[in-house]
């Protein structure tokens, strides 16, 4: 039913097309700006509480969140065995899937065993990753997306463009038009007098989907977290469509990436505090559901959990890249990324767009394929993604590491293809000098200054700026400013004329003025 990303052009080509779409650029700039501001306000609120006497601040919370996920990953085999045992004890049926095809086959088999020709779905990145809807459709089973944005995307036969707000590229007039044109083909039609008020559009979605919720026999979900100790799955959402899918059907199948494990229920705590603030910019999302297998007399009485690899063990084997598996899919890194804001999600050619997509896709799929190989170059290495990430994934570090892998994979090519791809990406991303200048200002200080002040290191060895005197004190105190590279991209760009001049000078130009303290 919905389109796929198969055959997407490499990032620079797709990005250039997206840049021509002014509606998309406008919507994205608005959306990322709004969410960014909301998140910043809540981070400041936590910091203010810290200043007023609360023992921990935002950085302590990030450290705890990162530590919980890292602890689970470091002992992943043991945690997965424990999760399987707890789930089984709680009445769930646990399946294992090496890849997308195996996972899809399991879901289809469960649906068929109940004679279901349709399933209702909670928004889930992982089921998009494995192309579950298309696989079920091929088996004659309709998969109804029930999240409002996913519904819009599905009805428009479109692709999601943002982890959190997948229809961010559509405005209200377009949504109205899609509802009027398509709802009648798949269920209850949109009312004829539908306006483009978001409230009216949401009400139309409520009516349209309610009949599907009430009759659905099989629900399909992902999970934000899976607690090994108690066999508890967690779904974090806003609209209540998740609760509907998790509660009303007789049968529930949850597809869970193996990296979703959290060791203990108590350790969910920092993640439940970090995720909504980083994601939607709320203190708490409207609904969080947790369930442990089958609850007698309450909700689905047949519960399946599919534990999925699909490349995650590739990522795990990469010593630098494995930290990407800590990702809790909050999308904060998308909202701060200057490249994402201008190119939009589709340019990444994957369900995982933005900075996290630029590292996760190559880590899951491996390098060597043209489209995937172009992704690590879709970045300025400005560091904003790392700073925003609630589980402290050092995305720039992984990007640089993956670029090396891509280049290594192309040794012997002439002309060097990977570099050519990189340069095209850079030429596109940094054509607007003033925009990039702002980003570099936002990151505050040049690496040359910070390099001298550096006195501590992140886990993983990355130098940090430590705490700075003057107006930057509050900022670095809260955020553990990563030291940018000694020569900023713009400096390098100016010096080498966009990489066309030979990279002869080893010392950075001293004439640029960006990178002063703000």
């Amino acid at each position: 039913m919905s389109g796929t990303f198969v055959g997407m052009p490499v990032f620079p080509t797709a990005a250039r097309a997206a840049l021509g779409d002014t509606q998309l650029r406008h919507n994205l700039a608005h959306a990322t700006g709004v969410i960014r501001a909301k998140r910043a306000k809540l981070v400041d609120e936590v910091e203010a509480a810290h200043a007023a006497g609360a023992p921990g601040g935002w950085e302590d919370l990030r450290l705890a969140g990162a530590a919980v996920k890292q602890r689970a990953l470091d002992d992943l085999a043991g945690q997965l065995e424990l999760l399987e045992e707890s789930l089984t004890k709680a009445g769930a049926v646990v399946h294992w899937a090496r890849d997308a095809a195996e996972a899809n086959a399991i879901v289809a088999r469960v649906a068929k065993s109940h004679g279901a020709d349709e399933v209702v779905k909670v928004k889930s990145m992982v089921t998009q990753e494995i192309g579950l809807n298309e696989a079920l459709e091929a088996e004659g089973i309709a998969a109804w997306e029930t999240d409002l944005a996913e519904l819009i995307v599905q009805l428009a036969d479109d692709l999601p463009s943002h982890i959190l707000v997948p229809a961010i590229h559509r405005n209200r007039a377009e949504v109205r038009e899609i509802f009027l044109r398509r709802m009648k083909d798949v269920g209850r039609p949109a009312p004829a007098d539908l306006t483009d008020e978001p409230k009216v559009l949401a009400a139309a979605a409520r009516e349209h989907l309610r009949e599907k919720f009430l009759r659905a026999k099989v629900g399909v979900s992902g999970a934000n977290f899976a607690v090994a100790e108690t066999g508890t799955l967690v779904v974090v959402e806003s609209e209540g469509n998740g609760r509907m899918c998790l509660t009303l059907p007789e049968v529930l199948v949850s597809v869970v990436g193996i990296e979703k494990v959290v060791p203990t229920f108590a350790e969910l705590d920092p993640l439940l505090r970090l995720l909504p603030r980083s994601s939607t910019g709320e203190r708490m999302n409207p609904y969080t559901s947790t369930w442990s297998g089958v609850t007698p007399g309450d909700g689905p009485q047949e519960v399946h959990v599919v534990l999925l690899d699909n490349g995650r063990t590739n990522a795990l084997a990469d010593q630098v890249g494995r930290q990407a598996l800590r990702c809790i899919r909050c999308s904060a890194c998308l909202n701060v990324c200057p490249v994402y804001e201008r190119a939009g999600g589709h340019a990444y050619g994957s369900v995982y767009p933005g900075p996290i997509g630029a590292i996760l896709n190559p880590l899951l799929k491996g390098t060597g394929e043209k489209q995937t190989d172009s992704l690590p170059y879709a970045s300025s290495l400005c560091g904003a993604c790392f700073e925003a990430c609630p589980v402290r994934i050092d995305i720039p570090e992984v990007l640089v590491h993956l670029r090396t892998k891509v280049v290594d994979g192309h040794r012997g090519d002439f002309p060097p293809k990977a570099e050519a791809v990189a340069m095209k990406g850079a030429a596109w991303a940094f054509s607007d000098a003033s925009r990039l200048g702002l980003v570099e200002k936002a990151s505050g200080l040049s690496g040359r200054v910070l390099g001298r002040l550096s006195k501590s290191a992140f886990p993983g060895g990355r130098p940090t700026a430590g705490r700075l005197a003057g107006p930057a004190v509050a900022w670095t105190g809260a955020r553990d400013l990563p030291a940018p590279p000694a020569e900023s991209f713009r400096q390098w760009w100016a010096r080498t004329d966009g990489g066309t001049r030979p990279d002869s000078t080893a010392t950075p130009s001293s004439t640029t003025t960006e990178g002063e303290t703000r």
Partner: protein, 219 residues
């Protein structure tokens, strides 16, 4: 044991050959100033934060609770009362719909006007109420399908922040109970980030904060 299971676990083990696990659980930091605040202040913030989500919050005396509850409904409205809800509360709604004669279907639930439940925990910092679906709170569908949810929270159930809530709920989760964390009515910001309250879950959330600890489930 399936071949897929052995393969996945095998790959995980070999990927992590260089890693030593950390056996001790992470102890997360307290980040709310409320964790050390007096109870009265915690309750004030709870009320303020629940209201932030455009939910209705009222503070009521235990003695006046049933009478107040009765004023919240139009005559003839059908209200689901879960098993274990105190009898005087069940008696206060215009037409009580129960599951005494077996579970209601989803369609039957869709045809009622409201539901009244108790809660397990209230979280002040985030304006959240948590149901563990024990007596008086009903199975999950009861507080989901009806369009209006009236939730009775006792003052002694309100904690400062998520760490305290997780600590209180750990026992229920270990015993296999599902949880529903509710922060305001259902909402979406999917269309141009314009927040709309009320999508699939109850479009109205009405919280009654009861000053004393006398309202409990009937088992």
């Amino acid at each position: 044991m399936s071949a897929a299971r052995e393969a996945v676990l095998g790959r995980v083990r070999s990927a992590l050959a260089d890693v030593t696990p950390t056996p001790e659980p992470v102890v997360p930091p307290i980040t709310s100033a409320l964790s050390a605040a007096p109870e009265g202040h915690v309750l004030d913030v709870f009320v303020e934060r629940v209201e932030d989500y455009k939910a209705v919050v009222e503070q009521v005396d235990a003695e006046g609770l049933a009478a107040h509850l009765a004023t919240l409904f139009e005559p003839g409205q059908r209200v689901v009362v879960p098993a274990g809800l105190p009898a005087e509360l069940a008696a206060a709604v215009p037409v009580a719909v129960t599951e005494d004669d077996g579970p209601l279907t989803a369609a039957e639930l869709d045809a009622v006007d409201a539901v009244v439940t108790l809660a397990a925990v209230g979280v002040a910092e985030t304006g959240t109420i948590v149901l563990d679906h024990s007596a008086g709170q009903g199975r999950r569908a009861l507080s989901l399908v009806p369009d209006r949810h009236v939730c009775v929270v006792r003052a002694d159930q309100v904690v400062a922040d998520v760490p305290e809530a997780v600590a209180r709920l750990a026992g229920a989760v270990s015993a296999g109970a599902p949880l529903t964390w509710i922060s305001g009515p259902s909402a979406t910001s999917d269309i141009e980030l314009d927040r709309v309250e009320g999508v699939h879950g109850p479009r109205t959330l009405h919280v009654l904060l009861v000053a004393a600890d006398t309202v409990g489930p009937v088992s």
